[in-house]
């Protein structure tokens, strides 16, 4: 198991309005419900107090965490510091919907200790934003972005989405260029996935989605443009200026432990993967009882750990290290997966440099096929 400080994740399951592509655990909620939820969350955080876990990242995700009142944010941060030993230089991120923040709120967030903002922009083209069901336009985002800078945020990430309805290669480039001009520290660029249970899923047939080839061209163009602007791709969908990679998200792909708090949040703790109840009432009822909260507990066997080491680790552009594999599991990677790496290297889908094995550009496109070969028969 990877020994490291924990990552803390807090799930905020409400938003102003559900977006057409969204399958996250999130829904609009009234002010008093949001307050009540924050209270539950505090109880859950405090329940971890006795364990004295050390943490070096915190991530408020959602939903729309920026819908929390300035006061709630302050209290949650204080509670976190009470329950956990949080490193001074910890990365503390909050996801923000541009529509929900003003300068005052952003200042309050900064003051509460948040030091990284992740803006959900998705597109710089208003028509595309409307089709996605976003509540903000580009203009509104710009104001929020500059407000965040003025509030003192020196680490800002912007979320973008490619292959969305009616998007063209040129409109996607327009979005990328506008965002590059803003010089954020970090950019996530996701290809749209049509998930079950979303508005898009039901309307799939009428959506004017870019075809597969266009989608891949967009993806590769993204890397090209961002790389030229000084952003390195460090994971399939994530780009950063040197030193600004998301330390929190990297934990997910490195086998590091994280504690998810809030409704439906997932954890990997003590070699066990589990999640909190997806159901809001069940969560609220047991938020003080960590044992009762745990759903679908699954102890990762050594086999599962080896598999995840590979299929999660390979999402990172730096790939996986043979040395690290041997240190962790006491066996050679090539022994556990005879011929697998070689085969993919031959097909030009994986590459090897020293101890590191990583996806090639071509391999990235079909990475699921490669990952599947790292599952072991048990």
């Amino acid at each position: 198991m990877i020994k490291s400080k924990k990552g803390l994740y807090l799930h905020i399951p409400f938003c102003v309005k559900k977006c057409n592509y969204c399958d996250f655990l999130s829904a609009p909620a009234a002010e008093e419900d949001r307050k009540a939820y924050a209270a539950c969350l505090k109880k859950e955080i405090l329940a971890y107090r006795s364990a004295e876990y050390e943490a070096d990242t915190v991530f408020f995700g959602g939903g729309t965490p920026s819908l929390l009142s300035a006061n709630s944010i302050k209290e949650l941060m204080q509670t976190l510091h009470t329950a956990f030993i949080i490193e001074e230089t910890a990365e503390i991120t909050m996801e923000c919907n541009p529509e929900t923040v003003d300068k005052e709120k952003l200042c309050a967030m900064r003051k509460a200790g948040i030091n990284r903002i992740s803006f959900g922009l998705q597109s710089a083209v208003d028509r595309e934003l409307a089709l996605l069901g976003r509540i903000h336009n580009y203009e509104r985002f710009l104001r929020a972005y500059y407000d965040a800078r003025e509030a003192g945020f020196e680490n800002i990430s912007i979320d973008l989405m490619s292959a969305i309805p009616e998007q063209t290669e040129s409109s996607w480039e327009e979005t990328l260029k506008k965002v590059i001009d803003l010089k954020p520290e970090h950019i996530s660029a996701y290809s749209l996935i049509i998930e079950e249970g979303t508005v898009f899923y039901d309307r799939q047939k009428e959506l004017m989605l870019p075809d597969e080839d266009t989608e891949r061209q967009m993806y590769h163009r993204t890397k090209e443009l961002l790389q030229n602007a000084g952003y390195a791709r460090y994971e399939i969908s994530n780009y950063a200026r040197p030193g600004f990679e998301s330390r929190h998200n990297l934990k997910y792909w490195s086998g590091a432990e994280y504690i998810g708090m809030g409704q439906g949040a997932s954890s990997l703790l003590g070699g066990i993967r589990f999640h909190n109840p997806y159901d809001g009432r069940r969560y609220r009822e047991s938020c003080e009882n960590l044992t009762a909260l745990r759903c679908e507990e699954e102890r990762l066997t050594k086999t599962a750990q080896m598999e995840e080491f590979c299929f999660l680790g390979l999402r990172r552009m730096k790939g996986i290290s043979e040395e690290e594999f041997r240190e962790l599991f006491g066996r050679k990677l090539a022994e556990v997966y005879p011929g697998v790496v070689e085969g993919f290297v031959e097909q030009g889908l994986l590459a090897k440099q020293g101890e590191w094995i990583f996806l090639t550009e071509k391999g990235t496109d079909v990475s699921n096929r490669i990952f599947a070969e790292f599952l072991l028969d048990e």
């Binding site: 998200n249 997910y252 599962a304 990235t364 990475s367 096929r369 070969e373």
Partner: protein, 602 residues
């Protein structure tokens, strides 16, 4: 009971003319079962038969009928299949009977198989009793059909019962005529035992259950009997007759009776259908003629989807062969499919039914290769080989010429469809042999056709081009020289032996193209481009390409996605296991089967 009060008979008919319904009605009317006990189609007790609405295996039932003269008669009703593929089984059933009830549809009249079955019955010296069925249909024309029977078959039919087996109308007339017009069995009950095996089934408790007709003498419990052809000797544990869907034991069966026996026979091969049973201590002088041995016409490879199930498949085939002597099989190996069997069938329907029975009754998952016929390959060194597996075709340089089996076919069709049916026969390389008008609006077309051309979808094509009105029968008619080639399929430049087949050179291009198109749809995209080629020798005649997988990537994978991601990858891997690996290409089992039916419309 005296022989004079026994009637052994079967019902013969063209498919769908109502044979099974009449059988049910007879069972019901003879009072063996009350109406409430009647399941629909009592005789068709195989699940598959009921679903398809056709009778596959000959079955027998004994009922008791109290005639108008006050006497009780034993009716042994032996059910027969109606499809052309099963003439062999019809023949087996007929050998156990003394008479036959011929059912003719009052609307459709005589059809191709009506004739074929009547001729079979007459071959066995059976008395034939015509019955006009479905007179309740608005389109029924009983008098026309009666005239047709007299004109075409030459049977006296003016007082043929006019019935509706469905509603039960006039079925009593049939029962009375069975008593009056069909002969009672003959045969000396005191002579040494001589009984004909017409069927058998395997039961895991009782062993082989043998169905037979006693021609002479008597068989009783405890007796030592000998199977004359196989020489097997055994002690009779149980004798009995057939209730509806059940066996009813009794003490003995004498000349003229139909029934079953068990004798702890474990070896399936000891009892062959058509063999004669005799008394081991007091044997008869010579066996009964048995039936004409029929040979399979259509061959294909059958492979277990899971290679480890090979012994199970062998076991299942042996059991099926027990009451279906026309099924033949021998082991073979395919590079693509592993260990399996080359199986011989009477026709395509027979093949499909065996395949379904293996899958349903024996829970086997099968991969079947394209069906083919037996080709005669004459080599330049004078040697002739009979080819059932295309992979065994010698090198073209060693082949002098090849021959393929022909059939002479009779197609009965209403005049408006003559043109389209003639076109069909022409497309299938048919040789026109004349046409006879049965009546003003119906004609009998005669063609010689290569068997190869009718085993695929001829029957379906015939039905669709005549709006279901054409009927069809055929018999084998020797071999004819033909310009044949072996078509190979190459996937990613590797030949897949299980997909090779022999085809007329004139249609090779078309077939090759269709195969490639079909396979293109069946083979999933891989990480690399896969060419699919059809080739004759080293010459590629058609090509398609399965494009490389462009994209299979999950954009997001954070804390909550990991478990889902794992399941997705596991599913992907699991799907791969169900594929056949050819070189580095994975081919779904389905692909091997989908090319069996290459429809015209695309």
């Amino acid at each position: 009971m005296e022989q004079s009060r026994i009637r052994n008979f079967c019902i013969i008919a063209h498919i769908d003319h109502g044979k099974s319904t009449l059988a049910d009605r007879i069972i019901e009317k003879t009072g063996l079962l009350t109406e409430r006990e009647m399941q629909a189609q009592v005789l068709d007790n195989m699940e598959l038969e009921r679903e398809r609405g056709i009778t596959i295996k000959a079955q027998a039932v004994r009922t008791v009928y109290k005639a108008k003269n006050g006497e009780e008669y034993i009716f042994n009703l032996i059910d027969t299949p109606g499809h052309v593929d099963f003439n062999y089984e019809v023949s087996r059933s007929l050998a156990a009977c003394d008479g036959a009830v011929l059912v003719v549809d009052a609307a459709q009249g005589i059809e191709a198989q009506t004739l074929a079955n009547v001729y079979l019955a007459l071959d066995h010296d059976l008395e034939v009793l015509p019955v006009i069925n479905k007179i309740d249909l608005p389109s029924a024309e009983p008098q026309r059909v009666i005239d047709e029977i007299e004109d075409v078959i030459g049977l006296e039919a003016q007082d043929a019962p006019q019935i509706s087996a469905k509603t039960g109308l006039n079925v009593e007339d049939v029962l009375e005529q069975i008593v009056q017009k069909l002969p009672a069995p003959a045969g000396n009950p005191d002579a040494p035992l001589k009984a004909l095996i017409f069927d058998s089934v395997y039961d895991s408790y009782k062993g082989v259950i043998v169905f037979f007709r006693v021609k002479e003498g008597c068989v009783r419990k405890g007796m030592k009997v000998r199977m004359m052809a196989t020489g097997a000797v055994c002690d009779v544990v149980e004798v009995g007759y057939f209730g509806a869907g059940q066996f009813i034991p009794c003490d003995e069966l004498s000349a003229g009776m139909v029934g079953y026996l068990t004798a702890s026979i474990k070896n399936v091969k000891d009892t062959t259908v058509g063999d004669t049973i005799t008394d081991a201590d007091n044997p008869c002088s010579e066996p009964l003629p048995g039936y004409k041995k029929v040979n399979p016409m259509v061959y294909c490879g059958m492979y277990p989807a899971d290679g480890a199930k090979y012994p199970d498949l062998r076991d299942a085939l042996e059991k099926l062969q027990l009451n279906d002597a026309s099924l033949q099989f021998e082991p073979e190996t395919s590079v693509a499919l592993g260990f399996g069997f080359r199986c011989g069938f009477l026709g395509l329907l027979h093949l499909e039914i065996i395949q379904e029975r293996l899958e349903r009754e024996y829970n086997l998952d099968l991969v079947t290769t394209a069906p083919g016929v037996i080709y005669r390959v004459h080599k330049t060194n004078g040697e002739m080989i009979e080819l059932t597996n295309p992979s065994n075709l010698p090198d073209p340089s060693e082949i002098d010429y090849m021959e393929e089996p022909m059939v002479s076919a009779e197609i009965m069709v209403t005049t408006e469809f003559i043109g389209s049916i003639m076109d069909l026969c022409q497309e299938r390389r048919g040789i026109y042999n004349g046409m006879e008008y049965m009546e003003e609006t119906r004609a009998l077309l005669k063609y010689d056709l290569p068997l190869n051309e009718i085993i695929y979808d001829f029957f379906d094509a015939l039905k669709s081009r005549s709006r279901g009105y054409a009927s069809f029968d055929y018999e084998m008619k020797g071999y004819a020289k033909a310009d044949l080639v072996k078509l190979d399929i190459l996937i990613n430049r590797e030949e897949v032996d299980a997909l090779s087949f022999i085809v007329f050179s004139g249609t090779a291009y078309e077939r090759g193209r269709k195969m490639c198109e079909k396979l293109k749809d069946e083979i999933p995209r891989h990480l690399f481009e896969i060419p699919i080629q059809a080739a004759i020798g080293s010459k590629v005649i058609a090509r398609e390409t399965v494009k490389a997988m462009r994209k299979d990537v999950l954009a997001k994978c954070y804390s909550g996605d990991i478990s889902r991601k794992r399941k997705l990858l596991e599913k992907q891997k699991e799907g791969k296991k169900r594929m056949r690996q050819i070189g580095n290409v994975e081919i779904p089992q389905q692909a091997f089967m989908s090319v069996l039916k290459l429809d015209d419309k695309k």
